[in-house]
């Protein structure tokens, strides 16, 4: 009986705490000095956390800058970051909390496509804008009017590389990819396009995204003697693969998507990255807005983001939201309408236009690693 009482009290207290959570009852549209909250959903703990941190901080940087410059017509902007853990259940819990309790009208996120796909129906129904800086899964295009992206869908990058590699004369290639949604999606598009053009995938290997020993997969690729390798990793495992390839004396031309267009990859893999060609949204680390972003990021947080272009995208998404709000569009529906009009927005992540599905149209360019730096390819 005593146990039961203790229990009931714990339950009651929990319910009270959750119920009495700070809920400013005014919707964001009122003329008050209350801060405007925007949400953030991304992996802040767990396997993907190394990347999630950079994304959150990218968004945070934008929020802080906007506030220093006077906020949104006098009201401060507040970022409410929630941990999506790159998993549907946690992302949906996070989204519900942001929408119902914090009453946000716009959310930066999710990052993993699994987060975005799970949250999309919720955001759509609640008429809250969900703009992902990094989810590339093709299924997101059709997931709702309130769902946007700041990065191009897989469909683009995979195809561009397939066409390029074919044009360069490669006919028998290998694919190596991490066993996660981002990577599998790209691999599917690439594979389909490349074989359509007439090429052949002679060998394919995959690995768990957090694995550290890819030697045997590399050995298998070496054995099949392909002409080139299409590598679809996350930066960390990509670095390891480049290094291990060099150590195992596997000398293949490497082609990769923007996940490898990261400075840190070059620093950590040194010589091994030389000659690699990457496709990337026109996100030239040297372009003024981008370089400025990286500098400010480093100054503020003391490190460089792991997946640079997506951190820059997060930064841009916040600014886009802020631009909408400064013009008086404060509700989700108004922000949504504004976003559909965005054309040729030059942000830290490159030039961006939003199409009628809410997808991002970004020019993709190819770059190659020469002497330890990314240079444009003609």
């Amino acid at each position: 009986m005593k146990n039961y009482m203790i229990l009931m009290s714990i339950l009651l207290i929990t319910i009270l705490v959750v119920g009495c959570a700070p809920t400013e009852m005014q919707p964001a549209g009122e003329e008050t000095k209350e801060p405007i909250k925007i949400g953030f959903i991304g992996p802040l703990t767990g396997d993907v956390a190394p990347y999630g941190e950079g994304w959150r901080d990218g968004a945070l940087l934008a929020v802080e800058e906007i506030n220093t410059a006077g906020g949104i017509n006098g009201r401060m902007l507040e970022l409410v970051p929630e941990d999506g853990l790159c998993k549907p259940k946690d992302a949906t819990n996070a989204a519900q909390k942001l929408i119902e309790i914090d009453k946000v009208q716009a959310i930066v996120g999710g990052f993993c496509s699994s987060e975005t796909l799970a949250v999309a129906p919720i955001a759509e129904e609640a008429k809250v804008v969900l703009m992902s800086p990094g989810s590339t899964n093709a299924d997101i295009t059709e997931s709702g009017d309130y769902i946007f992206r700041a990065c191009p869908s897989d469909a683009l990058q995979g195809e561009i590389m397939a066409i390029y590699m074919y044009d360069e004369g490669y006919r028998e290639v290998a694919i190596m990819y991490a066993n996660s949604d981002y990577n599998l999606g790209l691999r599917n598009v690439f594979s389909k396009k490349f074989t359509e053009l007439g090429g052949e995938i002679v060998v394919e290997q995959n690995y768990e995204q957090d694995a550290k020993d890819m030697r045997t997969q590399i050995t298998k690729i070496k054995d099949a003697a392909p002409e080139a390798l299409y590598l679809v990793p996350y930066p960390a495992d990509g670095t390891i693969i480049l290094v291990q390839m060099k150590e195992l004396d596997v000398d293949l031309p490497v082609f990769a998507p923007e996940s490898m267009c990261v400075d840190k990859v070059l620093v950590d893999s040194g010589e091994a990255a030389e000659g690699m060609v990457v496709s990337t949204p026109t996100f030239d680390e040297a372009a003024p807005k981008t370089a400025e972003f990286l500098q400010k990021f480093n100054d503020r947080f003391g490190y460089k983001p792991e997946l640079t272009s997506y951190s820059a995208n997060a930064y841009d998404v916040v600014y886009l939201f802020a631009d909408a709000m400064k013009q008086g569009h404060i509700t989700g529906t108004e922000i949504k309408d504004y976003l559909y009009t965005v054309t040729d927005y030059t942000g830290a992540g490159g030039k961006l236009t939003i199409d009628e599905n809410g997808d991002a149209i970004k020019e993709l360019i190819l770059m190659r690693v020469e002497n330890g730096e990314f240079v444009d390819l003609e």
């Binding site: 396997d47 045997t216 150590e247």
Partner: protein, 295 residues
């Protein structure tokens, strides 16, 4: 010949690490019948400590390694004292859950202190590895170091267990707890030593992996599960079994994905595990102690 030899070398390198971590699991289980779920995190902690000493504080890499091992030895000791000891004798589930709690706590702590970004520890340029003569396989310098260090530590452990007083006490307690205490061995002290040594070994594994690959806060998770599997396959409670199991899993994994889709690499360890559990549950060197097999 070349490919097969390369796969075997790959397997040995991986196996050395599994073996080092498996030793910690097996020693703790041998005495306490308790699966220390947090052991993988000690591995991770070792890597980070090594990084702190070597990269942040500029200490020579070997000294950094030793310091990291010491640090983890202390950590293992402390974790046992505050979290596991209060639960001794309370059955199997509470310590298991506590260990899981510690594991989560340490991972989050690592993110808090070090941030979630990936750290590297690489010393020297990235170069093509050395080709081993006669068998045509490639190995790098640090991989050779991994094999040498892990084997050296295992040999050291063997001598310790066989010839020192504490080592013999450990064997006695693992063999028969009650009799050991009757003859005057202090089981608590022995248990502490087990945690200290096991943690130091895991830390060594962590540093080696950190140097060869990279550091992330969750790096201990998958190594932890596979090393534990290796310990069971080799015969849990038996340190030679842990070593054998470690190398076996390393080899089977690498040779296995030559034949089956590489996505199943992690599952191979479990398949081996299930195979053993169904046909020889006590593992390769295990001894029937009466509780493993059903009537």
């Amino acid at each position: 010949m070349g490919i097969a030899a390369q796969l075997i070398i790959n397997g040995i390198i991986a196996g050395g690490i599994y073996a080092l971590v498996a030793l910690g699991y097996t020693m703790v289980y041998g005495i306490l019948r308790f699966i220390n779920f947090a052991h993988g995190e000690v591995f991770m902690l070792g890597a980070y400590l090594g990084w702190v000493f070597n990269i942040l504080l500029g200490v020579n890499v070997i000294v950094a390694g030793v310091l990291a091992m010491l640090g983890c030895a202390v950590a293992g000791f402390v974790i046992d004292k505050i979290a596991y000891k209060p639960l001794r004798g309370r059955g199997m589930l509470p310590p298991l859950i506590t260990a899981i709690g510690i594991s989560l706590f340490l991972q989050a702590l690592a993110i808090l202190i070090f941030g979630a970004q990936i750290r590297t520890f690489r010393t020297g340029e990235v170069v093509r590895g050395i080709t081993i003569p006669f068998i045509d396989a490639i190995i790098t310098k640090i991989q050779i170091v991994i094999i040498i260090v892990s084997v050296a530590l295992m040999v050291a452990l063997h001598f310790y267990i066989k010839y020192t007083k504490t080592g013999k006490a450990m064997r006695a307690v693992a063999d028969n707890y009650e009799v050991a205490s009757i003859v005057g061995i202090n089981p608590n002290k022995v248990i502490s030593y087990v945690f200290i040594i096991g943690s130091a070994l895991a830390a060594a594994g962590g540093i080696l992996v950190g140097m060869e690959q990279n550091l992330t806060p969750t790096m201990g998770v998958s190594i932890g599960i596979k090393s534990f599997t290796a310990a069971v396959v080799g015969g849990i409670g038996n340190i030679y079994g842990a070593v054998l199991g470690g190398f076996m899993i390393g080899l089977i994994e690498n040779i296995g994905i030559w034949f089956i889709p590489s996505g199943y690499k992690d599952a191979i360890a479990f398949a081996v595990l299930l195979f053993f559990l169904l046909f020889k549950p006590t593992g390769i060197f295990g001894v029937k102690k009466g509780e493993e097999v059903s009537v």
